[in-house]
């Protein structure tokens, strides 16, 4: 009953940086056995940074130098034991290493191979070199974001974590399909298409209206007040959104603007927007003397949406994330402890997530090569010597 949902699933994770590793991470925390494979010859570029410690929670990690031809049989043996292979090299790289889907299915007919790349694995632009931050621009995602002053937005690392969540979703759908049909799957995933699909309403809006959605900052066509207001302290802001006239009246009473309560000049979004500058100034005068969290609690107590706009260090301090168990304690090999994120859901009938600190490269070499694959100890040592296991 309390067994984790994905126990018994084995995933070989050749992916690196963010999108692929986080997809495998979601499944590892839900009980799948994830074996990360990489080489010191060209380590996962994320290795040196702190985020690596989260992207790779609860995984095994063995070293294998895929540029050495003697590694191929070992990789194939490992894949033959697995349900799923994940890779996110540039399109074509995994094929050229000799691990195309047709080859893999010779060894494991029902293997599920997930290949994620910037623009997918077919089509005229499949070889485009991509970074997630650039894809935000390429896919139209950024064109609907901004203050509305004509300047493109510059920040954001949106693509990879979004893609990571979608990759784990489609992997699970393929695994479930295989349980019923017996069929494996090759999944050719395009990060660019994923971002474009996430702005589908703007795409339809354009076709229907002939107009491009203009970035409008924190505003909304459907609600007003709806935006950010300044609070006490440098760069402290609170979001406030008024949903209907009852809330508007209650809000006005709270901020001592009784002249606007039950006032027919202010009882629709359009009418209120005519007084936008005046209303915004009054709200700002009220918020700017208060702490952002205080405004949240005061307004939420009467059912009005409000929340502080937090920088990431304040997110990490938010008490709700500890109460819910989203931030949970991890013990590292050197005995240090850290509160690190788990997953954004709770299953009512399972116990805790499978949680362990991220491994270092090679930590699982003996477990995987000697115990799982049964490689002879002498040969194993020789493979290390020859930098095949490296």
């Amino acid at each position: 009953m309390n067994e984790l949902p994905l126990s018994g699933i084995r995933i070989i994770d050749f992916s690196w940086i963010i999108a692929g590793p986080t997809a495998a991470r979601h499944l590892a925390l839900m009980g799948a056995e994830v074996i990360k494979v990489g080489s010191s010859r060209r380590p996962d570029p994320s290795t040196k940074g702190s985020p690596y410690q989260v992207y790779n929670q609860s995984k095994e990690y063995c070293a294998l130098n895929l540029s050495n031809k003697d590694s191929k049989n070992i990789a194939i043996d490992l894949i033959s034991t697995a349900d799923v292979v994940i890779e996110n090299f540039a399109a074509g790289v995994f094929d050229r290493m000799g691990f195309d889907y047709e080859t893999l299915r010779e060894y494991r007919p029902d293997i599920i191979l997930l290949s994620s790349a910037g623009t997918g694995h077919t089509g005229p632009d499949k070889n485009f070199v991509a970074y997630g931050s650039l894809l935000q621009h390429y896919t139209g995602w950024n064109t609907i974001s901004g203050y509305g002053d004509g300047n493109p937005i510059k920040g954001g690392l949106w693509a990879d974590p979004w893609v990571g969540m979608e990759l784990s979703m489609i992997l699970m759908a393929a695994i479930n399909h295989r349980m019923e049909s017996g069929k494996g799957q090759y999944i050719d995933y395009s990060m660019a298409e994923s971002l474009t699909a996430s702005i589908s309403s703007s795409i339809l809006d354009y076709q229907i209206s002939g107009k491009l959605s203009e970035p409008n900052g924190n505003k909304s066509l459907n609600k007003y007040p709806h935006g950010l207001y300044k609070c006490l302290g440098t760069d402290k802001w609170v979001s406030i959104s008024i949903d209907n006239n009852i809330q508007w009246d209650e809000f006005c009473e709270l901020i001592n603007q009784v002249k606007w309560v039950n006032n027919s000049d202010f009882n629709t979004v359009e009418k209120r927007k005519l007084y936008e500058l005046e209303i915004d100034k009054v709200i700002n005068d009220w918020t700017k003397l208060q702490e952002d969290y205080d405004v949240m609690h005061i307004l939420q107590a009467i059912g009005i949406e409000a929340a502080p706009s937090l920088d990431i260090s304040r997110v990490y301090s938010d008490p709700s994330l500890y109460e819910s168990g989203f931030l949970s304690n991890h013990v590292f090999a050197d005995g240090t402890e850290k509160m690190l994120p788990t997953l954004p859901w709770n299953f009512t009938n399972i116990s805790d997530f499978e949680l362990s600190a991220a491994p270092n490269i090679g930590d699982s070499n003996e477990k995987i090569y000697l115990d799982l694959l049964g490689i002879d100890i002498k040969i194993y040592k020789d493979l290390i010597e020859k930098k095949v296991i490296y």
């Binding site: 896919t139 090759y186 802001w237 954004p344 299953f347």
Partner: protein
């Protein structure tokens, strides 16, 4: 599940959506696109997204906003008033033969009507229910309300997205356009539903999953969260205090957006070798030899001057020519596409990314399909646009839709 007429990965899967606006409808949409049979339960007033004011369909009373259209194709619409006993019974009946219920009703809404998970599983022991709540259950904010605006801001994502500004006290953090926080909650719910389905297929046991939209959005900021956990100070939004790459790649010498004749091009010749190829592409201008620009760290220290020179050059060129020439030299660079550009993009056309669905009033429109290709299964071709309110009541209850 009925595997005889399976199509797509989820053929035969029965899904009930008790969803409003974006998150739960987006979750159920993905399940529908993958082949599930989705019945959307709407109140007599309809899903609130039907009334969303958008550019295309302003405040119309037909209940077909662009937002609603984009999230509800290939579903069946059934109207139930869950405040009246007869419709509560109908809901219970539908739930008996359902694999997955996806819902985003307010907390306690279903319990108050005695339609919560514990009640529903009495007649369906293997039922899966996915509940999307703004802040999950069992913490100090569980009763709080939140929409896209608050979720984007409270999760830390809004501080990164705009890039550095001159004055953080007058230029606020920014939420992204569209409905990204709600989409993230819906996507996260979809992943959770597939994990729960796996457990059900293995054990026959269903479960109730609570998805926290806030935590789903915090998961999108996971890199920054990890940096904080390991003691790295959070990046300031103030331009003058900004270090090289600290906000993640789209400002400073490692990448940015250049103006062109026909829009913008996003470039990132960040490594020295990429930069050398980039300079070659520009025809080796004299300024590139300058010591302010000849190493990566020098470029990072002189990024404003660098961008002036680059912009002078790019303003005489097309975004397509620059990105094509750059990509031919293995330099990461892309045109900044408008939606019009996307709709006629030859690569997306080759991959048949957009699919046409005919709408009786609006005609043929292009919708994004799934962003992945599957080799061993035929994904059903969506053919039904978002349904009119209650269109399928007559199918299920032998009555005329409202």
């Amino acid at each position: 599940m009925d595997s005889d007429n399976a199509t797509g990965l989820l053929g035969g899967l029965k899904v009930l959506e008790l969803g409003s606006y974006v998150s739960a409808p987006y979750c159920a949409l993905t399940l529908a696109k993958l082949g599930a049979d989705v019945i959307k339960i709407e109140p007599p007033t309809g899903d609130e997204s039907r009334k969303e004011i958008t550019l295309g369909l302003n405040a119309n009373d037909k209940g077909i906003s662009s937002l609603f259209l984009s999230l509800n194709h290939n579903k069946k619409s059934v109207v139930l008033d869950l405040d009246i006993l007869e419709d509560q019974k109908r809901f219970l009946k539908l739930a008996e033969s359902t694999d997955i219920i996806v819902e985003n009703t307010p907390i306690e809404y279903l319990r108050k009507r005695n339609l919560d998970f514990d009640k529903l599983k009495e007649n369906n022991a293997s039922l899966i229910m996915i509940s999307i709540l703004p802040f999950g259950e069992g913490n100090a904010y569980s009763d709080y309300v939140a929409s896209d605006l608050s979720l984007f801001h409270m999760s830390g994502n809004a501080h990164g997205i705009i890039g550095p500004v001159k004055d953080p006290d007058t230029e606020p953090p920014l939420r992204a356009g569209g409905y990204q926080a709600d989409m993230v909650a819906g996507l996260t719910a979809t992943t959770a539903s597939m994990i729960a389905l796996h457990k059900k297929m293995k054990t026959g046991i269903g479960c109730h999953v609570i998805v926290s939209a806030f935590e789903a959005m915090v998961t999108m900021a996971i890199s920054g969260l990890a940096n904080t956990a390991f003691g790295k100070p959070h990046p300031t939004r103030k331009l003058q205090e900004q270090e090289g790459s600290s906000i993640g790649g789209m400002v400073s010498a490692i990448g940015g957006v250049l103006p062109c004749i026909d829009g913008f091009v996003a470039i990132s010749p960040r490594e020295d070798a990429q930069w050398e190829r980039w300079v070659e592409m520009m025809g080796h201008p004299d300024w590139a030899e300058d010591e302010r620009f000849n190493t990566r760290s020098a470029r990072e220290n002189n990024v404003e001057d660098l961008w002036v020179f680059l912009s002078e050059w790019s303003l005489t060129k097309s975004k397509y020519d620059i990105s094509r020439d750059g990509q031919n030299r293995r330099i990461p660079c892309f045109p900044v596409n408008t939606i019009e550009d996307l709709l006629r993009d030859s690569h997306l056309e080759y991959r048949e990314f957009f699919m046409n669905i005919e709408h009786p009033e609006l005609g043929l429109l292009k919708y994004p399909s799934l962003p992945y290709k599957l080799n061993n299964v035929t994904v059903p071709v969506p053919s039904r646009p978002a349904p009119n309110l209650g269109f399928h009541n007559k199918v299920f209850f032998n009555e005329t839709g409202s």
